[in-house]
C-alpha cells in the first residue's frame, strides 16, 4: 500500500468551543432551554408591568426584544431601589470573593457543562452590572474590576441564565460567606419584572392563583369534584366511604396543600393519602377552596406578589376561625412559610400554637407561623403508635427518598420523612451521601421552570439526581422514588422516563395510605392507584 500523507491531514475535526472572556460572548439562546415569555394579559390581570404599552408580543429568539426606550433607566432604578431596600442583596453584591466553592455545585452546571451556569458566574452577570453602574471602583477600573455596563446583550444574558436557576440553594450550602445565590436570582428576576420580562409558566399560574385561589385555576366546584373523584377511587380500592368538609367554619385545623396534588398524576394519590389518614384519625379539619394552594409562584416574580398570594392562607384561617394550619407535601411552600410568612404578616395572634389533637404533642417549631408540616404530624403519630400499619403491602416497592430542596434546605426536614418511610415500607435504600439531605440535588424543574418547552434544560438539570437514582436502582433494584414536593412529583417522572425508565415516583403520604389499616376497610388487593398490588410494577 502506497504511503498516503494527505489521508492523515484530511480529518480535521475540531469541536472545541471558542475561548475568551465570558463578558464578550454573545448570548446564544437555544430552544429547549428557555421558557416562553408571559403574555401581557396575564401580567395585566394582576396589575404587574406588562409590555403592551411599548411593544408587540415578545419573541425570545428575535434579535430585537422590543424593549422600551427607557429600559435601561427602569432597570437601574429598580435595582437601586432593591439595593436600598434589601440589605442582603447589597451584601451579596459586595462580598463575593469569587473563590469558586459554589462553582461545581449547581445541577444545571453539572448537567449542561455550560460554565455560565456555575452559580458564581450566574451571579456575576448581575454583580458585574452592579459594579459597573453603582460602584466607583467599577466605574473607574471597568473590566479590570470585573465591572461592565448594562447593555442589551447583558440583559439577554441575564434573562437567559436567571431562568436557568431553580433557586434550590445547593450552592449556598457551600459558600464560605453564606451568600444565598438563590436570592440573587430572586432579585434578578424581580428587577427584570420591571420590564415585563417573566415567563408564561410562572405568570399564568400567578394570574390564576390570584383569581381562583390556586395555580391550576381550579374553581371551587372543580376543586371539590377532583377530591370527590379521589373519594370514589378510595371507595373502590379501600372499601371505605366518607365525605370531608370544605370551607367549614369552626373546624380545628385548616389543611392547605399545593393544587398539583388535587389534579396532577401522581400527586393526586398523595392527596388520597391525606384524605384516608385524616378520616382514619377522625381529625376535625377542613379543606378550603379559597386557600386551595400551598405553593406560591408569586415568589418567583416579586416579593410583593409573593406576599399577596401567600396572604390567602391566613385570610382563610381567620375567616374560618381555625386554631392552626396543617400543610401538605410541597416544596417552596415550606421555604416561604418558614422564612417569609411571619415577616410579611406577623404576628399571627389569631391562631394558637399547634397541638396535635391525637397525641397532644406541641409543635413548638411552628410557634410563630402556626403551620405544621404533614411529615412532622405523621411522624409524631407513628412515634405514639396511633396508626395501624402494614408495611408488607409496600413490599413490592424498593424505595429511595429524594430530599426535596426547600423542605430540606429551607426547613431542615431530614429525619421525619425517612422515619415515616421506614415505618410504612420494608425496603428503603439511601442514595449516595453527597446527593441527599442538605446536599440534595434539585429535580431540575424548580422555581417555575417545570414548563414543557424547556424540557432539555429540565432533563439535563435533573441528571445529577437521576444519576444518583440510577446508582441505587442498579445496586439495590430500587423501583420507587419518594419525595415530598408537588413540583417533584410533576418533574421527576419525565426525568425518570428519560434517565431511569424503570423507576416510579410517589409522595410519602401515598406510601402511608397503602400501608394504613383503616377500620372497616375491605380486602386490600389493589393499591390506591387502582393496580393489583401483587403484580404491579411501577413506571414513571
Amino acid at each position: 500500500m502506497a504511503k498516503n500523507p494527505e489521508y492523515y491531514e484530511s480529518l480535521n475535526i475540531d469541536y472545541k468551543p471558542p475561548r475568551g472572556n465570558w463578558m464578550d460572548r454573545p448570548v446564544d439562546i437555544k430552544s429547549g432551554i428557555y421558557c416562553y415569555p408571559a403574555r401581557p394579559v396575564v401580567l395585566e390581570n394582576v396589575g404587574m408591568n406588562d409590555r403592551s404599552d411599548w411593544g408587540k408580543y415578545w419573541v425570545i429568539e428575535d434579535e430585537d426584544w422590543e424593549l422600551p426606550d427607557d429600559w435601561k433607566e427602569r432597570f437601574l432604578n429598580k435595582m437601586r431601589d432593591m439595593l436600598d431596600k434589601y440589605r442582603t442583596f447589597k451584601i451579596y453584591m459586595d462580598i463575593c470573593v469569587r473563590c469558586g466553592a459554589c462553582a461545581d455545585k449547581c445541577h444545571y452546571f453539572l448537567g449542561s457543562g455550560d460554565p455560565m451556569n456555575m452559580p458564581v458566574l450566574r451571579a456575576e452577570l448581575l454583580r458585574s452590572i452592579y459594579r459597573g453602574e453603582f460602584t466607583k471602583t467599577g466605574k473607574i477600573l471597568g473590566r479590570f474590576a470585573g465591572a461592565r455596563k448594562l447593555t442589551k446583550n447583558a440583559l439577554k444574558q441575564l434573562w437567559y441564565y436567571m431562568f436557568q436557576c431553580s433557586e434550590c440553594r445547593r450552592c449556598s450550602v457551600f459558600c464560605p460567606y453564606g451568600i444565598d445565590t438563590a436570592e440573587i436570582t430572586i432579585m434578578g428576576r424581580e428587577i427584570m419584572n420591571e420590564l415585563g420580562m417573566n415567563i408564561a409558566w410562572v405568570q399564568e399560574s400567578v394570574s390564576k392563583c390570584i383569581h381562583t385561589g390556586n395555580h391550576l385555576g381550579l374553581q371551587p366546584q372543580a376543586y371539590k369534584e377532583c377530591i370527590d373523584a379521589m373519594l370514589w377511587d378510595i371507595e373502590d380500592n379501600v372499601g371505605i366511604t366518607f365525605e370531608p368538609t370544605f370551607n367549614r367554619k369552626g373546624a380545628e385545623i385548616l389543611f392547605v396543600t399545593p393544587s398539583g396534588d388535587v389534579f396532577a398524576d401522581p400527586g393526586i394519590f398523595t392527596l388520597a393519602g391525606y384524605l384516608m389518614l385524616f378520616e382514619h384519625l377522625g381529625l376535625d379539619y377542613t379543606w378550603s377552596t379559597y386557600a386551595s394552594e400551598g405553593g406560591d409562584f408569586g415568589y418567583f416574580t416579586a416579593n410583593e406578589m409573593a406576599k399577596r398570594m401567600n396572604g390567602k392562607i391566613y385570610n382563610e384561617a381567620k375567616r374560618l376561625g381555625v386554631k392552626w394550619i396543617l400543610g401538605g407535601e410541597c416544596g417552596h411552600m415550606w421555604r416561604v412559610l418558614n422564612q417569609y410568612m411571619t415577616t410579611w404578616h406577623g404576628p399571627i395572634d389569631f391562631l394558637e400554637e399547634p397541638v396535635s389533637p391525637i397525641t397532644g404533642t406541641k409543635f413548638e417549631n411552628a410557634k410563630a407561623h402556626k403551620m405544621v408540616h404533614i411529615m412532622e404530624f405523621v411522624a409524631d403519630l407513628i412515634k405514639h403508635n396511633k396508626l395501624k400499619l402494614d408495611p408488607s403491602r409496600n413490599d413490592h416497592l424498593k424505595v429511595t427518598y429524594h430530599d426535596s430542596c426547600n423542605p430540606s434546605r429551607g426547613l431542615g426536614l431530614f429525619e421525619e420523612p425517612r422515619y415515616v418511610i421506614k415505618n410504612v415500607c420494608n425496603h428503603f435504600y439511601e442514595m449516595p451521601e453527597n446527593t441527599i439531605r442538605e446536599q440534595t440535588y434539585c429535580c431540575g424543574s424548580g422555581s417555575g421552570l417545570n414548563a414543557s418547552e424547556n424540557m432539555e434544560l429540565r432533563l439535563r438539570g435533573g441528571f445529577p439526581r437521576q444519576n444518583a437514582l440510577r446508582y441505587v436502582a442498579d445496586k439495590y433494584g430500587v423501583n420507587m422514588l419518594a419525595c415530598i414536593c408537588a413540583i417533584d412529583r410533576a418533574a421527576l417522572p419525565p426525568a425518570a422516563q428519560y434517565w431511569n425508565p424503570d423507576v416510579g415516583v410517589t409522595g410519602v403520604c401515598e406510601l402511608v395510605a397503602n400501608a394504613l389499616i383503616m377500620e372497616g376497610e375491605g380486602e386490600r388487593t389493589h393499591n390506591i392507584r387502582g393496580f393489583e398490588i401483587a403484580t404491579w410494577e411501577p413506571e414513571p
Binding site: N4, L110, T212, Q219, R308, L459, P494
Partner: protein, 192 residues
C-alpha cells in the same frame, strides 16, 4: 503484529486522549472540572464519559458487539442529546477517535504497512458513528414524547385566561382591570 495489537498496546494512551478530546468539546472552565473531580456523583457527566470510553474502545477493537456498543454509546450520547451541541457535535465523540488513532499510529503504519488494517478499523468506527446517530435519535424522540405527554396531561382550564367570574364580569363592564382598580372582592389584597 497487526494494527489491533499495536492499538491494544497503546490502549491507555489512546483512551486517555479520547476522553480528553471529548472533554475538550466543552468550554475550558468545564474541562478543568471534568478532569479533576473524581467523585462520580459530584461529576456525573465526566464520570459517565470516562467510564464508557475504555470499554467502547475495547469493543471496537475486539468485540464489535452491537448491543454492547449501543449501551456504551447511550451513556455518552444521551447526555449530549440534551446539552448545547448540534446533532453532529453530539455524535462526533466517535469521530474524534479516528483522528487520535491516525495521529498515534502514523509512524507505525507508514513503516509496517498497516494501512489496510486502519481502513478496516475506520469502517468499524464509521459503523459506530451510525449507532451513535441511532442512540441520538432515540433520545431526541424520547424527549418529544415526554413533551407531548406533558401537553396531553395538561388540564384544559390551565390554558387560556384566568377564569375568575367576578374579574371577567368587571372586564366586560369595563370597570377597571387587574388589581390596580380591583374591588378586592376576592380578598387577596391585604391580609390584616
Amino acid at each position: 503484529m497487526n494494527l489491533d495489537k499495536l492499538l491494544a498496546k497503546k490502549k491507555d494512551l489512546i483512551v486517555d486522549k479520547w476522553i480528553n478530546s471529548i472533554y475538550e468539546s466543552y468550554p475550558s472552565e468545564t474541562v478543568e472540572f471534568f478532569r479533576h473531580q473524581r467523585n462520580k456523583f459530584a461529576n456525573p457527566v465526566g464520570a459517565d464519559i470516562s467510564e464508557a470510553v475504555g470499554p467502547l474502545f475495547d469493543e471496537l477493537l475486539n468485540g464489535n458487539n452491537q448491543k454492547n456498543m449501543f449501551s456504551l454509546l447511550d451513556k455518552i450520547v444521551r447526555i449530549r442529546a440534551v446539552q448545547d451541541f448540534p446533532p453532529s457535535g453530539a455524535v462526533a465523540v466517535v469521530l474524534l477517535l479516528k483522528k487520535i488513532i491516525r495521529d498515534e499510529t502514523k509512524k507505525d503504519i507508514d513503516t509496517d504497512g498497516f494501512f489496510e488494517d486502519l481502513l478496516e478499523l475506520e469502517s468499524r468506527i464509521d459503523y459506530c458513528i451510525l449507532l451513535a446517530f441511532d442512540v441520538y435519535m432515540k433520545c431526541r424522540e424520547k424527549i418529544w414524547e415526554i413533551k407531548l405527554d406533558e401537553f396531553k396531561k395538561r388540564p384544559f382550564f390551565v390554558e387560556g385566561e384566568a377564569r375568575c367570574l367576578s374579574y371577567m364580569v368587571r372586564q366586560e363592564q369595563g370597570q377597571g382591570k387587574g388589581t390596580k382598580d380591583c374591588c378586592n372582592s376576592c380578598g387577596l389584597g391585604e391580609v390584616r
